[in-house]
Amino acid sequence: MKLLVGSLQLGLLYGILALGIYISFRILSIPDLTTEGSFSFGLSVSAALTALGHPWLALLAGMAAGAAAGAVTGILQTRFRIHPILSGIITMSGLYSVNLAVLGGSPNLSLVRAPTLFKILPFLSKNEAMTVLPACFALLFLALVILFFHTHVGMSIRAVGDNEDMVRASSINVNGCKILSFCVSNALVALSGALIAQYQGYADISSSTGILVVGLASVIIGEALFGRRGVTLGFISAIAGSLIYRYIVALATKYSPLPAYMLKLVSALIVALALAIPAVRQDFGTAALKRGGKTHA
């Protein structure tokens, strides 16, 4: 029971991360390595402000921090034409120092005595809040991104990811669209980090290691279930994928003989396999054609 509830809570919190990853990875079709940096940026900013007694402001500031990180990557990529992967790596590396600075020079910060959101809600015990809050945030932001990507700007961003040439030839500002979507994507990633800090009751910079792969795994698992049909379903399946990923993790750590530290390797394998499937399928198809050709010849 505890396992089920815990995975549900984490699945929802990391589901917000998956929404962000879906935007960069699927809508823009640009894998964004800023993610690890912006996740811990949200995490550290949120922890620092919560420790000062401002848990709500912590979330807002965390999101703003993520958006700023995304803007940097976006500007490096568009205005200065640096390779997308490299732009992300640059921002991520730079953020490492920034995050340490935000946490006062140490790699972690405890919030045991700080008033996290989960402790201060009226009418709800801490345990209840730990389920209710993640659910509210995940649903709220799910609705917001779905709405956003049906507005004119949101559709312009989708078109940029779908056919950049066409958008360049139309009157939409391609670079502006890209920068904006990196902001939105990383704001969500950072919000996920900001909530996780308060949920766990501590911030640890190393908790962002491999977080991009976690997000990708969620998106891919979701697509395996729901297929790839439009953004609305895409966002829903990203959250569903995140929930399922957490259950897999929980089961794996409980029942598998592997030690917990093997988890990242397992996630990486899941992602690699899922991404390899289309190519493997195609090769099998070609092989079948060749065999067919021979028998007919």
């Binding site: 004119h152 700007v153 078109a159 040439d165 360049r168 030839a169 009157s171």
Partner: protein
């Protein structure tokens, strides 16, 4: 309307592969003119369009649209008033978005209300109306992803995207060349109707010489980055494909390279 003054475009200037794509071209278009453009491969037809759209900047010369100097204006700013359809049906639409989403993208670009939801019910009704004029049954498939349509259907959607808000200038770059003959004819028919409806000022590149003489009201022939002939009125009415070929060889002292041009 459109005024191109002494446009010069040299690619790879100063290298051994230096190439003059536009050689001091001047062109004036009046409002409502429907001009066809012909010329062999590499004559500079697409380069002329690229210059007008701002895909690249000119080495020399100026471009004015409705009296406004747009020589240095950004491509996406010019696209507000210039519509363009390419030969490749894949180029003009977003394949994973629906017909109505593509149209709405094109439609709302003019009134910049970034956070409005689109398409609105009013827009949908308009799109349905305009699509049904094409007689392709597209009005019943507005929620279909454009990537699932045939080349001709995609070109029709692209054409509507470019004209649903009438542009000051419409540029068609061999937009039927990649289609099978029957479809090409259908798309050409739609094109003529659309241009006539709003009296659009249009430049249309075609490889079909005889069609170029019967479509629209003026014909340009480009060669080696220059506008070689400019026919309209009586002179154009009297022109035949043969006459044009003869005129070309007399002028250029060589035979028109016509591998890709149709001489029907």
């Amino acid at each position: 309307m459109l005024d191109i003054q002494n446009a010069l475009k040299v690619f790879e200037k100063g290298t051994p592969s230096e190439h003059t794509a536009l050689n001091h071209v001047s062109l004036h278009l009046d409002r409502g003119e429907f001009v066809t453009v012909i010329g062999s491969n590499g004559a500079g037809k697409s380069s002329l369009f690229n210059a007008i759209c701002g895909v690249f900047l000119l080495n020399e010369g100026r471009i004015l649209l409705d009296g406004k100097d747009i020589t240095f204006e950004k491509e996406h700013r010019r696209a507000l008033t210039i519509g363009r359809v390419f030969q490749d049906p894949m180029k003009g639409t977003a394949p994973h978005m629906t017909i109505e989403e593509n149209l709405s993208l094109a439609y709302s670009r003019v009134m910049a209300r970034p956070l409005s939801f689109s398409p609105s019910a009013r827009q949908r009704a308009l799109f349905r109306d305009r699509l049904s004029e094409f007689g392709m049954g597209l009005e019943d498939r507005m929620k279909t992803q454009v990537g699932l349509l045939s080349g001709g259907q995609r070109q029709a959607v692209t054409l509507l995207m470019c004209t649903i808000v009438p542009p000051r200038l419409l540029l068609l770059d061999e937009h039927t060349a990649a289609l099978d003959p029957a479809t090409a004819e259908k798309v050409m028919e739609i094109t003529k109707k659309t241009v006539e409806k709003d009296h659009l000022t249009t430049l249309m590149i075609t490889h079909n010489i005889s069609a170029s003489l019967t479509t629209g009201n003026r014909t340009l022939m480009m060669d080696s980055g220059e506008i070689l002939f400019d026919f309209s009125g009586e002179q154009r009415r009297g022109m035949t494909v043969d006459g044009l070929m003869k005129l070309y060889s007399v002028n250029r002292h060589r035979v028109l390279d016509n591998d890709r041009m149709l001489l029907m």
